[in-house]
């Protein structure tokens, strides 16, 4: 659209601005939490006895993982919502959640090897938890690929929602298969788990970081959701305008 009349474009701008106030508030809270979490994680929390400074990446690694899985949970709920009641808002939420989840889980999958190299001596092991995380990340990347490959129409949200159901149901079966597969084979015992007896200050810093990441997830998801809804609205207006001209 090169020549949108002012009467038509003004309400859209007002509508876009309406959701913006919320974003500024929420974004501000998220930023504050992230900074506070950063200070807690890098400066105030005590250094771990055996791993030294390397362990501090956990304040980002663990929250990113939990947040990523939470986002995929939102994707499953929104997809089911769409299958029961086909609404654009449900589909936009499913898309926003999948994209956000893939990003957070990517952070988790990247920070993991960075920590593992100095501590375990290897970048990657096929431990059940690592394998499951990688598989779930791949599953939701293929969800996004499906969305990219299907033309944007009434059909796309339904196909994506159906596929999201397949993914969500595959997760527990994956969990069983991968757990059994790895425990059957001998594997080097590498670490006893960082959560065994966590220092109270460490736990506090971890909770702060987790809250910050969840707030960030909500911000990003809301941002993407709003963008998607607005782009639907623009498309609808363009079609209406084209119809009027013809």
């Amino acid at each position: 659209m090169t020549t949108p009349t002012p009467t038509r474009s003004a309400p859209l701008r007002r509508r876009a601005a309406a959701g913006g106030a919320w974003l500024y508030w929420w974004g501000g809270v998220t930023l504050a939490l992230l900074l506070y979490g950063l200070v807690q994680a890098l400066l105030l929390a005590p250094t771990e006895a055996t791993m030294g400074i390397y362990y501090r990446i956990f304040y980002f690694h663990v929250p990113a993982g939990i947040t990523g899985f939470a986002a995929f949970g939102v994707n499953a709920a929104a997809s089911l919502w769409y299958l029961l009641r086909p609404r654009k808002a449900a589909d936009a939420l499913a898309l926003a959640a999948a994209e956000t989840g893939v990003v957070f889980l990517a952070v988790n999958l990247i920070t993991g090897p960075i920590w593992a190299k100095p501590i375990w001596g290897v970048w990657w092991v096929w431990d059940p938890r690592l394998t499951l995380t990688l598989v779930i990340w791949i599953m939701y990347v293929s969800y996004l690929v499906l969305r990219q490959f299907t033309p944007r129409s009434e059909l796309q949200p339904r196909l994506a929602a159906a596929y999201a159901m397949f993914l969500f149901i595959a997760v527990p079966i994956d969990y069983m298969a991968i757990r059994w597969w790895r425990t059957q084979h001998p594997q080097p015992v590498i670490f006893g788990g960082p959560n065994s007896g966590l220092d109270p200050h460490m736990a506090y810093a971890l909770v702060v970081c987790l809250l910050a990441f969840l707030a960030l997830m909500a911000t990003l998801m809301r941002f993407r959701h709003r963008q998607e809804m607005l782009s639907h609205e623009i498309l609808r207006r363009q079609r209406a305008a084209a119809l009027k001209e013809s």
């Binding site: 299958l83 490959f149 129409s153 079966i173 994956d174 059957q184």
Partner: protein
């Protein structure tokens, strides 16, 4: 099969389709399934393009593997199950890709969808034909694999055949559904493996591990067979419930 049709339309939030022609009753789901499967199989067997391609492709994969890894009995003991299933998977993808390809020409799919036939039954018929095709090809590839890779004498073939049946069911059930899903996509042939493989991970682990156990003649296959059966039942049911989501007019 019968209850699935109505729950599916209820699940999708739409009223059940009104009977288009009251004079002619809705065909029974089983008859639709049988007719679809028989028609697809008959066409495939007359043409034999897909069957030949699958057979040759599967054979090539097995032969290439024997170059990539020296084919000796020790290797088969360790990774034979994996090699066998990669060959079956690649050959199977050819059949799965074709499951809905035929319907794309002359808008056949739109005609099928417009017919009063229950969609879950159409999907199930496609599944039956594709699974039968895959099993026929696998029945030829399995003995070839046993010879080329010097299958160990302790191998229990009954168990392997059972695993092949359950594993093929798993791949064909999800593959048929995703093939239907792909008919709406731009690059359908590219898309199918990208959709199928991530969801098939637990089934692939189970079928490879079970085959491995039976090849080596060791114990512990029950868990994998149960897991595979559970996967088959759950995803077949899901495909039936969600059949309307992929088979609907645009």
């Amino acid at each position: 099969m019968k209850p699935g049709v109505h729950t599916a339309s209820a699940l999708a939030g739409r009223a059940p389709a009104p009977a288009a022609a009251p004079a002619r009753p809705r065909p029974s789901a089983w008859r639709v399934l049988w007719a679809t499967a028989r028609r697809d199989l008959r066409l495939e067997l007359r043409e034999r393009d897909a069957a030949n391609a699958m057979l040759f492709y599967g054979l090539l994969v097995i032969v290439i593997f024997s170059f990539a890894f020296t084919a000796e009995a020790q290797l088969t003991l360790r990774v034979g199950g994996g090699l066998l299933w990669v060959a079956f998977l690649f050959a199977g993808l050819l059949a799965l890709d074709r499951a809905f390809l035929r319907e794309a020409a002359n808008d056949c799919l739109a005609g099928l969808i417009a017919s009063p036939a229950p969609r879950a039954a159409l999907l199930a018929g496609k599944f039956a034909a594709t699974a039968a095709m895959m099993l026929m090809v696998e029945a030829v590839l399995l003995p070839l694999f046993a010879v080329i890779f010097n299958a160990p004498p302790a191998a229990r073939w009954g168990g392997i055949v059972l695993t092949v049946l359950l594993g093929t069911w798993a791949l064909a059930a999800n593959g048929t559904y995703f093939s239907a899903l792909g008919t709406h996509a731009r690059q359908r042939t590219l898309l199918l493996p990208l959709l199928l493989l991530p969801v098939a991970v637990p089934a692939i682990i189970a079928m490879v591990q079970a085959t491995q156990v039976f090849l080596a003649g060791s114990g512990g296959a029950e868990f994998w067979l149960k897991l595979l059966l559970g996967y088959d039942v759950i995803f077949t049911a899901l495909g039936v419930v969600l059949a309307d989501a992929v088979l609907e007019a645009e």
